[in-house]
Symmetry: D2
Subunit: 338 residues, 4 copies
Amino acid sequence: MIIVMKPHASQSSIDNVVELVKSSGLTPHLSQGEEVTIIGIVGDKSKLSNRNLEIAPEVDKIVQVTESYKLTNKKFHPYPSVIPVGKTEIGPYNLTIMAGPCAIESEAQLLTIAHAVKKAGATILRGGAYKPRTSPYSFQGLEEEGLRYMKKAKEETGLATICEVISEESLEAAVKYVDMVQIGARNMQNFQLLREVGRSGLPVLLKRGMAATIDEWLNAAEYIMAEGNHNIVLCERGIRTYETATRNTLDISAVPVLKAKTHLPVIVDPSHATGVRAYVKPLSKCAIAAGADGLMVEVHNNPACALSDGPQSLTCEQFEDLCQELASYAQLERRTFR
Amino acid sequence: MIIVMKPHASQSSIDNVVELVKSSGLTPHLSQGEEVTIIGIVGDKSKLSNRNLEIAPEVDKIVQVTESYKLTNKKFHPYPSVIPVGKTEIGPYNLTIMAGPCAIESEAQLLTIAHAVKKAGATILRGGAYKPRTSPYSFQGLEEEGLRYMKKAKEETGLATICEVISEESLEAAVKYVDMVQIGARNMQNFQLLREVGRSGLPVLLKRGMAATIDEWLNAAEYIMAEGNHNIVLCERGIRTYETATRNTLDISAVPVLKAKTHLPVIVDPSHATGVRAYVKPLSKCAIAAGADGLMVEVHNNPACALSDGPQSLTCEQFEDLCQELASYAQLERRTFR
Amino acid sequence: MIIVMKPHASQSSIDNVVELVKSSGLTPHLSQGEEVTIIGIVGDKSKLSNRNLEIAPEVDKIVQVTESYKLTNKKFHPYPSVIPVGKTEIGPYNLTIMAGPCAIESEAQLLTIAHAVKKAGATILRGGAYKPRTSPYSFQGLEEEGLRYMKKAKEETGLATICEVISEESLEAAVKYVDMVQIGARNMQNFQLLREVGRSGLPVLLKRGMAATIDEWLNAAEYIMAEGNHNIVLCERGIRTYETATRNTLDISAVPVLKAKTHLPVIVDPSHATGVRAYVKPLSKCAIAAGADGLMVEVHNNPACALSDGPQSLTCEQFEDLCQELASYAQLERRTFR
Amino acid sequence: MIIVMKPHASQSSIDNVVELVKSSGLTPHLSQGEEVTIIGIVGDKSKLSNRNLEIAPEVDKIVQVTESYKLTNKKFHPYPSVIPVGKTEIGPYNLTIMAGPCAIESEAQLLTIAHAVKKAGATILRGGAYKPRTSPYSFQGLEEEGLRYMKKAKEETGLATICEVISEESLEAAVKYVDMVQIGARNMQNFQLLREVGRSGLPVLLKRGMAATIDEWLNAAEYIMAEGNHNIVLCERGIRTYETATRNTLDISAVPVLKAKTHLPVIVDPSHATGVRAYVKPLSKCAIAAGADGLMVEVHNNPACALSDGPQSLTCEQFEDLCQELASYAQLERRTFR
């Protein structure tokens, strides 16, 4: 932590800050120049949490130098984590594809898609039973009924399963039926829910909030880890920018940035990132080339009639074609796949 | 709803769309030009919710022409709403100031501040008992104990009270102690929570999500209203942009835009919008001049030692000074105040 | 300037940085903690401009603590500047209104508007002769012919005049006819043009780039001042964000931020910020309440037929009404007006 | 073009719009619903350029359905363009790498780098002679002297050459020495300069503005093409967002979006997009996988002492390593390389 004093700050203002730091049990280091004095503090900055030094006299600004996330931080856990989900795992040695419908609509729909995505190469079935929709008048999901179909699909295909949870109630239900739960973008900073999935013990896919910085995202993961649950996978799904040609802007740089900052696996969701089916293939290939550990892709047996996000869903045939093309990219990245 | 076909789309693709629209019980209106055909549809577009026309052959794009929010829409409810809260009300005829500490720290702290803000002109006491914090290691609030101090402060001062809720549990507690609940920016699309506050019957302050469009915000309000709770006040608190000189970017235009789109009252939170105490006064004045129905301002009896957001909090003296200056602006806007 | 070393950086990496700093004639100050070492450097950091310390071994990051702009910096010039333009001036003691058509269309149009805006209270006539338009097929302005009408309007009304310049050629023409030149948002970092207006000697209105930070904006102003031209006024005109309800997002906080960072006057352009005529009045009032030294407003005698930006232009009658209402706000801010 | 009337607009307001459209020589098509009337207009909308229908009585909004760019539009030129540059070409059949220093510092520096990048697989040498820098106090480039070194490097290595131009003067100089000119992000809407490079006849690399939408970018290219110069290559270099972990946010989706909207080639600049050397390799691979026709990469023989952008520059060895790895990706995309 660095305290930058205003130019030509008076000695008494400098002394005041030095004193506040010392009285909190920390050691200040002064760098005094002709115009500006800066005061470096190394150590446990939480000791200063009730000292708002920003508003001490003649303080210009405070600069943080260390990250507030610890358990998720690669600095302290240098090796990449491998997260087990059902019979598969997510990590640096393989390419994981999660695929399935945006919303579960019926048992027949889900089973058809489950068999198709398994055949193509997916190892985890995704399917929404609780849908957070912008408008209250849109289809909100089959809820627990949908989860039961997920369990059935798992039994029939052997695929691991993942479902979004949006509340304590949906989490309690999900724990009974699926292998992994997802926190969606809109709930990335629903701290209560983060704590609860932390205590659930299930592996968690944590999607990035639409306007979350990478640091805030890792702090959200820290909430889950702080409850003792270390099985977290991060999912980049596009951020909000001024560009409207795509639904969101896929921040592909987040993949190498996260690889530098955390030990947690990172996957990419090209379907939500773009909202356009035709862009899913190029962005899937690019995600793997950028170092992602996997993908989450929306697949529907009849996108033209899908109750949610049809325009961004691949048909089963398109998904099969996608996986075939991805195999060469996985190989170049030395990841096992199919 | 308008369907724009690709240039030189074939007659059979156009016929296909026309047929899909008709089979859903709606009437298509064609505008055929030399290059482009557009198909207008007026009527209940929910009939097309399971027809993803975007991916029908040779469709270029779909343009929505009507808003998905109804109950919050000024088009159907032209007169401004007035929301009663405790013994006061929020609406076009007066200027409402909500003030208090970011986090409730102790009974003494809260009571000191409550008396001071009442004296200065506030009619609603704000105070955080459940704090959504970016890091799990930051102070998370006094929870129900804090709410009890709020009730005490109300009894002593007569101020109405407001507290943020972040979960079903905190909502259940809040209902017992305060007059109004707040949904914070991070929970603006926590649809489960929106429905629950909708059912609680308490007036709700709905803060804008950090990356929410005005339309998404009004759809979030629609979730609350759809549960039968019409007592909603919107709070602009800054959006996330690339500019870092302020914590967020206050979207002051949202005030007149909302006045044109909805009948609900709008207030502004200059403290969170900027994160800097010195900017609170100019932005408070500007919010009133822009047409806001009120303000939410953070006040602390000792900001230098505040456990949360000290640097953006005003001292009690600064708040008194602010209110004095605001009186003239309220008068120019023909709003009663103090 | 602060150099933050990676956690547990080796002594030799620390020594290497210390040596690089010393060999550049500067003095490093070490703060060594258990995990992290930070190295403060105060003094002329330009000595390190060819030392890219970011990529020295085990350096984590570099944090700048001082601004790169000097002449525009309030730290070194604490009193607000007053900029003379024709017979008027822009600064803290009065409220300056620049008004006129987006594009000059004819002599009759310009003179009609000039007389109307003068009568209402404007002291500077704006009018575009060189129009930077997104599409090459849109109206591009009357060029020098338009400037001649500006001169005529000045002679007839006594108003000072301002016109945007977009190139060396247009600047050479403008110098002959108008009192002040404007650098538009798209050219804020056209450094060649900044240097040329710096050498022209005319007062300059520097609009903020659509995605420029306040620091970049002040650095752009620094380019002009470095050429010896200190007559600069800054104009906030909205930044680009994800919100589409308004054309741009007016960053009203920029006004108090600039008042804290620079001695240059600041005005606000509500017409371009919103793109919607109905929002011009509330945002004009709010700009004054936020501390702006003036406004730039688009006015047209027949907006329905304007060749550029008609939908955001006020009629002459609306402008008269606006100025009447603004008078009370100017008075509250202790600024002379009309 | 579609005109959406306000709900329950009066017949006379609808008639008024219909009349305005007809009197401009266009045919309106009405779709009248219970609440809303929409009026479709197909044909040459420029006939309405002086009819600001947005502000006609009871008009709610205007929706554009066709793009304003024509020459760059894939709808009218479906096959991908191939752009010749020196002895090489940029297009769908090969992978083009432009590499070299951010700033040309000396003849020896440039020649060293030129030989190295040629050996590794680059076909175009980049080097900045005119540097647009945020601060006027930063190194501004060797100007014409730098261009002479570029010519020398071309003669020695056979590489084609590209240099940024920032003004008419620099363009006049560049034409004499290099094979291709670059318009940088800050000048993407410097329309005067666009017209001039349009008239120069040289191939042009048009970088995306920091806050430019894809549509604005294609309109900027249209300015060049409208002058008769069809040799344009687009370069995605990152856009400005709220995320600060990278200098800019690489909008990788822009690659497939552009492939759908225009026939012009697209390359990616991972160096400027991230500002961090370690991220250049993953983002280079990802750009190729996303469908880019090439890359622009900063390479320096001694990044630690580079006068500009050292932290994002690869060493010659790192660049050689990068090209080796890229070869497999080029092959997967069926592009010739090296």
